[in-house]
C-alpha cells in the first residue's frame, strides 16, 4: 500500500505507523459521560469499505495524517494533515 503524506509525497506504507480510527481526534471534555469516554477510548467500527484512519509518517517527517481509504479495495481516497483536520473542525 502507498500513502500520500501531505508533506513528503507518496510513500510506502512501511514508512507509516498505524494508529487506528480518526475518531481519536475528537477527545471528549473531561466531564463528559462515562459512556462518551468509553466510546472514545474503546469502541471502534470495523467497516468493510470506507474508513478514516490516523497514521503517522514516523519514518519520514513525523506528521500525523488522516487517511480516508477503502478497507476492501485498499484504495487510498484522500489524505490530510491531522493538524489541518483538527483546526478545520474547530472553526
Amino acid at each position: 500500500m502507498r500513502i500520500t503524506c501531505p508533506i513528503c509525497g507518496t510513500r510506502d506504507r512501511r514508512e507509516f505507523y498505524y494508529q487506528g480510527a480518526a475518531l481519536a481526534l475528537e477527545r471528549p471534555a473531561p466531564d463528559a459521560s462515562p459512556e462518551t469516554w468509553n466510546d472514545y477510548i474503546h469502541l471502534r467500527e470495523n467497516p468493510a469499505g470506507l474508513t478514516r484512519d490516523l497514521w503517522q509518517h514516523e519514518g519520514g517527517c513525523g506528521a500525523w495524517v488522516v487517511v480516508t481509504r477503502n478497507t476492501v479495495s485498499h484504495e487510498i481516497l484522500a489524505t490530510a494533515l491531522a493538524s489541518e483536520v483538527k483546526k478545520g473542525a474547530a472553526k
Partner: protein, 973 residues
C-alpha cells in the same frame, strides 16, 4: 540426444555436472533439463505420492515433475525445477523423494497400492486411534510423500532486498513485452522490463517464426540491444514478477547469475517495484491432455518439445509421436522433421484435421494409453477403426494454451471464460493500473502479440501523459488459433491431471461424487493445484473434469484463487537483511568502546547495548562485580552512562500547557533551573512512562524518558500537538543521540565534579539544573538521582562523550569509586523502590504504583478521566509492595507469583506477582518489588512466593517498596 546443428548453446565450451552422482557434460546456454535430455537422461524425478518415475513435462517455470536438489550442506537448495536451472560448471544435482535414487526407488511400490491412495485417502484411513495421528501416521506419511528436504544448516549465502520505481513495468519479454517496451522506451518513459528467463525473447527463442524478415530470436536480440542502449530502460532477466499488490506495487524475485555470485553478489534479490502503470505480457502455458499413463517419462507438452529442439538442439526422442487438439501439434511435427527427427505419428483429435507433412496423420483419433515404466516405449491410440499400438519414445502433446492470468488474480480478480479459445482470460481492471497484452490476454498469433503490445503500451503512455505515435508493426505470422476442447480421454486406468500432486481424473470425479462440488473444496480434498507449481498445468483441465462430473459448465464451476507468489520464493530472499543482528538496528553509546575495553559483558536494552557490570581481575561471579559497584555508589562515587534515556528538547510559549496536559502533575509552575519528576498516562488511564523534565531557560525545556519508551513518548507528544492541540505554539525534537549523559552518583559525587567544573557546586540544589562549563565545553548539569544517593547527571555533546566517560571513571577510581553497570543500577533502584518498565508494564495505574497523589486535581491531563473509573482504583487492585524473605529459603525470583501462606499455588488463588528482584549488598539480603492484591493494606503480612518455572518457594514479608533511606535524606545532602 543432441542434434548436430543449431540451438542457442555455445558448443565451443563444455560444462561438466553430476546428476545423482553420475557425471555428464553440457554446454553454456543449457538448462539442467536440456543437458540431461541431451545425455538421454529422460528419468529425472519420482512423483509426490505414488513415487512414479517422471521426466520433464515442460521447459519452463511451470514444471511439475523435474524437481531436483542442488548442492549440498548449508547451500543445499531443494525443489529446484531442472527446467529453469542454468547449467554451470560443477553443478551438483540430485533427485529427491526417492531412495536410494530416482532409478531404484524402494517406495515405488506405493504405485502398486494406488487403489487405496485415492482422494481423501489420509482422511479416511488414518482416523483412529486419534492419538496415532501425530506420533505415527503423520511422520510416516511425511517421510514417504513429499518434496526435497532442507539441509537444517544455517544458510551462508547472501540475499538482498531492492526497491525500484518506474513509469511502466512490463512483465514478460516475449514478442508482446518487447514490442511494448520498445514503444514505451522510444516515447521516453521510465521502463522496467522483467523476464524470468535468462534470456529475453520468450517463445521467440523456442520457435521458428520470423519477424520483420529475420528469425524471431534475432529480432528479439535486436530489440534488446536497442533497449539496452537507452538510459530510461532497466532490463531485468532472471527476474520473475511474483506478486501484484496495492497501489502499483509488485514483488519480483531476481536470481543472480552464477558468475556474479562468485564475485560476491547475493544469490537472490527480492525487488519491490512501484510502477505508475504495468503491462502483463506473461504469455501462456500449454496444457497437457489427461489419458491413461500420460505421466510416463518422455511425454511432454508440444511447446516444450519445440523448445528443446529449437533452442537447445536436443531431440527428446528418436521416434516422436505428436498428439493434439489444435494446430500447434502440426507445428511441432514440422519443427521435428526440419530438425531431422523421426516423427512416428501425428494424432489430431479434430476429425477434420489435414496435413501436407510427410507423416502418418490420425485425424479424429486420441491417445488412450502409454507403456514403458522408466521411459516411454509405445502408445495406444483409438481411431474410428479401433485401437492401434504405435512405437514412440517421446510423445509431444498439446491440449491448447492457458493464458497466464495469475497476476491479474492477486487482488481478488476472477478471470473470464472465453469459449472460442476454451480458456480463461484476464478480466479487465482486475489489478488497478495493470493492463494485459498478448498471449496472456488470449491473443495467440505473433502478429496479434506485437499489435497488442504496441497498442497497450500506447494507452499506458497516454495515461502517463507521454506523447507517442504508433509506428509500423514488423511483419509477423498471424495464423488463427483453432482448438477443439479435449480435457481427458475416456477409458480405464489412471489419467493424470496434476502431475505434481499425483491427482488423477478419477480423484476429481470421486471428489464430485462425495459432494466436494465446489472447486475450492475439490482442490483441498484432492490437493490438486497445490505445491510449487500451484496448478499451472492442471487447474483448467481439473475444473473442466469437475464441471463435467457435476453437470455444470466451466464458467459456472469457476476457478480456484491464484495467490502470490507466481513462482516459489525462498524465505531467505523475503527476509533478506533480517538475519542475526540485521533483525533490528543496534545503537551504541559513546562509552561503548571503553566498556568493552573494561571487559564489560554488554546487554541489549531495546536497541541499545549497555554494560552489565565491569569485572575486576579475580572476580569470578557477576554478583561480586555488581556488589562492589553498588558499594561505589553507596559509599564513594560511581559513574554510569545513562545516554540511552530518551531526551526531548522543547521550546515555545505553550510548552507549559503541553507538559501540564501530558504529565499528571503540574509543570507550568516549574522555575528556571529546576527539574521535576513526572508521570505520564495513556488515555485509557494506565501509566505510559515516567521521567524528569528540566527547565534550563525560560523557554528551553529538556524532557527525559525511559530508555524503553523514548520512541513512544515522542510519538505521543507529536500526536497531542498535531491531532489534539494543533493551536499550541510548541516545537520539540529528539536529542537523545546528540547528548552523551553520565550519572555521577554517591556521597563523593559533588567532590568529583567540583574539581572538573568552572562553576562552584557547593550550593547546587537537589533537583536543580544548569548550563555549566567543563574544560571549555558547554555542558548541562542536573542534580537528579536514581540511586537514592546524592547524584548528578552531566550531559555533553556526543562527540565529547567518550573522553568525558574516561575522565569521570579515572577520577572516580582515585576516590575509591569507579564505573558501574546496569546490574548495579538495578540493585540501587530496587533498594529505593524506584520503578522501571518492569513495574509500569502497561497494565498498571498511578494508583497501583502508589502515585495517585501525583494526579493533579486542578487540571485535566491525558488519562485522568479514565484513571478514575471504577475498577482502576480500590482494594481489588494489585498494588506495588516490597518483599523480603523471612523463611529458610532466601531467594526471590522475578516472575514468581504470590499466594497466601496456606493456599494451594494454583491460578484461582493467585494474589499477585513479582516484577523485580535484587540482592542488596547494602542490606545483606534479597529484595523484591511486586504487585499484591490490596497490597498497601497488607504490609507486615507473610506471603508465599511460588516460582513454578524454576521450582522455588520462598516465604516473604510484605513491606513498603522503599527499603533504604525512606526519608530520602541521602539524595538531598
Amino acid at each position: 540426444m543432441r542434434l548436430p546443428n543449431g540451438g542457442q548453446i555455445d558448443r565451443s565450451r563444455k560444462l561438466s555436472f553430476t546428476f545423482d552422482g553420475q557425471r555428464f557434460e553440457g554446454h553454456p546456454g543449457d538448462t539442467l533439463a536440456s543437458a540431461l535430455l541431451a545425455n538421454d537422461q529422460i528419468l529425472m524425478a519420482r512423483s509426490f505420492k505414488y513415487h512414479r518415475p517422471r521426466g520433464a513435462l515442460t521447459a519452463g517455470s511451470e514444471e511439475p515433475n523435474a524437481l531436483v536438489t542442488l548442492g549440498r550442506g548449508a547451500r543445499q537448495e531443494p525443489n529446484a525445477r531442472a527446467t529453469t536451472v542454468e547449467l554451470v560448471e560443477g553443478l551438483e544435482a540430485r533427485g529427491q523423494n526417492a531412495w536410494p535414487s530416482v532409478r531404484f526407488d524402494v517406495l515405488g511400490m506405493n504405485d502398486l497400492f494406488a487403489p487405496f491412495f485415492g482422494a481423501g485417502f489420509y482422511y479416511k484411513t488414518f482416523m483412529w486411534p486419534r492419538a496415532f495421528w501425530e506420533k505415527l501416521y503423520e511422520p510416516a506419511i511425511r517421510r514417504a510423500a513429499g518434496l526435497g528436504a532442507l539441509s537444517g544448516e544455517h544458510n551462508t549465502d547472501a540475499y538482498e532486498k531492492v526497491q525500484a520505481f518506474c513509469d511502466l513495468l512490463i512483465i514478460g519479454a516475449g514478442p508482446t513485452g518487447l514490442m511494448a517496451a520498445l514503444t514505451a522506451a522510444r516515447a521516453g518513459a521510465q521502463v522496467i522490463l522483467c523476464d524470468e528467463d535468462v534470456k529475453m525473447g520468450g517463445r521467440l527463442n523456442a520457435e521458428t517464426f520470423e519477424i520483420a524478415g529475420m528469425s524471431g530470436k534475432k529480432w528479439a536480440a535486436s530489440v534488446v540491444t536497442e533497449l539496452d542502449s537507452l538510459p530510461n530502460v532497466r532490463l531485468m532477466t532472471r527476474t520473475a514478477v511474483v506478486g501484484a499488490y496495492d497501489n502499483g506495487t509488485f514483488g519480483a524475485l531476481e536470481r543472480l547469475p552464477h558468475e556474479a555470485i562468485a564475485r560476491g553478489a547475493p544469490r537472490e534479490a527480492f525487488w519491490r517495484i512501484v510502477a505508475k502503470r504495468a503491462l502483463l505480457c506473461a504469455g501462456a502455458i500449454e496444457r497437457p491432455i489427461a489419458f491413461r499413463n500420460n505421466d510416463r517419462p518422455g511425454i511432454m507438452t508440444a511447446g516444450a518439445v519445440r523448445a528443446y529442439v529449437n533452442r537447445w538442439a536436443v531431440a527428446p526422442g528418436t521416434q516422436v509421436a505428436v498428439f493434439g487438439n489444435n494446430d500447434d501439434a502440426h507445428r511441432t511435427a514440422a519443427d521435428l522433421l526440419a530438425a531431422g527427427v523421426h516423427v512416428s505419428a501425428l494424432i489430431d483429435a479434430r476429425p477434420d484435421a489435414k496435413t501436407t507433412l510427410p507423416i502418418r496423420l490420425f485425424a479424429g483419433a486420441q491417445v488412450m494409453d502409454a507403456a514403458g515404466r522408466k521411459h516411454l516405449e509405445s502408445i495406444t491410440i483409438r481411431t474410428s477403426k479401433g485401437e492401434e499400438r504405435l512405437q514412440a519414445d517421446c510423445l509431444a502433446m498439446s491440449g491448447g494454451w492457458n493464458p497466464t492470468v495469475h497476476l491479474t488474480c492477486h487482488m481478488n480478480g476472477r478471470p473470464t471464460w472465453r469459449d472460442d479459445i476454451a480458456s480463461f482470460v484476464p478480466t479487465p481492471g482486475s489489478v488497478p493500473g495493470m493492463d494485459t497484452a498478448g498471449a496472456c490476454n488470449g491473443a495467440f498469433s505473433t502478429h496479434a502479440a506485437l499489435a497488442e503490445g504496441q497498442a497497450k503500451a500506447l494507452s499506458a503512455l497516454a495515461e502517463l501523459g507521454l506523447a507517442a505515435q504508433a509506428e509500423t508493426l514488423p511483419e509477423a505470422e498471424d495464423a488463427p488459433y483453432r482448438v477443439m476442447p479435449l480435457w481427458a480421454v475416456s477409458g480405464k486406468g489412471r489419467a493424470w491431471l496434476d502431475f505434481q500432486n499425483d491427482v488423477t481424473v478419477k480423484d476429481v470425479q470421486m471428489a464430485a461424487k462425495e459432494n466436494y462440488r465446489s472447486v475450492e473444496h475439490m482442490k483441498r480434498y484432492t490437493t490438486q493445484g497445490m505445491a510449487p507449481d500451484q496448478g499451472k498445468n492442471s487447474n483448467v483441465a481439473a475444473l473442466a473434469v469437475l464441471a463435467d462430473a457435476t453437470g455444470r459448465g466451466i464458467p459456472q464451476t469457476g476457478t480456484t484463487t491464484f495467490r502470490p507468489p507466481f513462482v516459489p520464493v525462498s524465505i531467505a530472499a523475503l527476509g533478506a537483511g533480517g538475519q542475526g543482528p540485521g533483525f533490528a538496528p543496534e545503537r551504541f553509546t559513546t562509552s561503548h568502546r571503553a566498556s568493552l575495553a573494561r571487559n564489560a559483558p554488554m546487554i541489549a536494552a531495546g536497541q541499545w547495548w549497555r554494560p552489565s557490570y565491569f569485572p575486576l581481575q579475580g572476580e569470578t561471579h557477576w554478583r561480586q562485580s555488581c556488589d562492589r559497584e553498588v558499594g561505589y555508589v553507596r559509599n564513594a562515587v560511581g559513574v554510569c552512562d545513562v545516554s540511552t534515556l530518551g531526551k526531548i528538547e522543547l521550546t515555545g510559549p505553550d510548552v507549559p500547557k503541553l507538559l501540564d496536559f501530558v504529565y499528571t502533575n503540574t509543570f507550568s509552575t516549574l522555575p528556571v533551573g529546576r527539574t521535576r519528576y513526572g508521570l505520564m498516562l495513556r488515555e485509557d488511564g494506565h501509566v505510559l512512562d515516567d521521567g524528569t523534565t528540566a527547565r534550563l531557560e525560560d523557554d528551553r525545556w529538556v524532557m527525559t524518558t525511559t530508555t524503553a519508551a523514548a520512541g513512544q513518548v515522542m510519538k505521543h507528544l507529536e500526536f497531542v500537538t498535531q491531532a489534539l492541540h494543533p493551536e499550541w505554539d510548541v516545537s520539540f525534537i529528539s536529542v537523545t543521540e546528540h547528548w552523551a549523559q553520565f550519572s555521577v552518583a554517591g556521597p563523593k559525587s559533588r567532590d568529583l565534579l567540583d574539581e572538573m567544573m568552572a562553576e562552584d557546586l557547593s550550593d547546587f540544589p537537589f533537583m536543580g539544573c544548569a548550563p555549566v562549563t567543563l574544560a571549555g565545553i558547554k555542558a548541562r548539569l542536573f542534580r537528579i538521582s536514581f540511586s537514592g544517593e546524592m547524584a548528578f547527571e552531566i550531559a555533553v555533546p556526543s562527540r565529547y562523550g567518550a573522553a568525558l566517560f574516561d575522565a569521570l571513571v579515572a577520577r572516580a577510581e582515585t576516590m575509591q569509586g569507579g564505573a558501574y553497570g546496569l546490574e548495579a543500577l538495578n540493585v540501587l533502584r530496587v533498594e529505593k523502590g524506584f520503578i522501571t518498565h518492569s513495574e509500569i508494564h502497561g497494565r498498571t495505574t498511578a494508583f497501583d504504583i502508589g502515585m495517585e497523589g501525583m494526579v493533579s486535581k486542578k487540571k485535566d491531563c491525558i488519562g485522568k478521566t479514565a484513571a478514575a473509573r471504577p475498577g482502576l482504583v480500590g482494594p481489588e487492585r494489585d498494588q506495588l509492595v516490597g518483599l523480603k524473605p523471612v523463611g529458610v529459603v532466601k531467594q526471590l525470583t522475578a516472575g514468581a507469583h504470590l499466594f497466601e501462606k496456606e493456599a494451594k499455588a494454583i491460578r484461582e488463588n493467585d494474589q499477585g506477582y513479582v516484577t523485580s528482584v535484587a540482592f542488596s549488598p547494602t542490606l545483606g539480603h534479597f529484595l523484591g518489588l511486586g504487585f499484591l492484591r490490596n497490597g498497601r493494606a497488607r504490609h507486615g503480612e507473610t506471603i508465599r512466593l511460588v516460582d513454578h518455572l524454576r521450582g522455588i518457594e520462598t516465604l516473604c514479608e510484605v513491606c513498603d517498596p522503599v527499603f533504604f533511606d525512606k526519608e530520602g535524606g541521602r539524595a538531598r545532602v
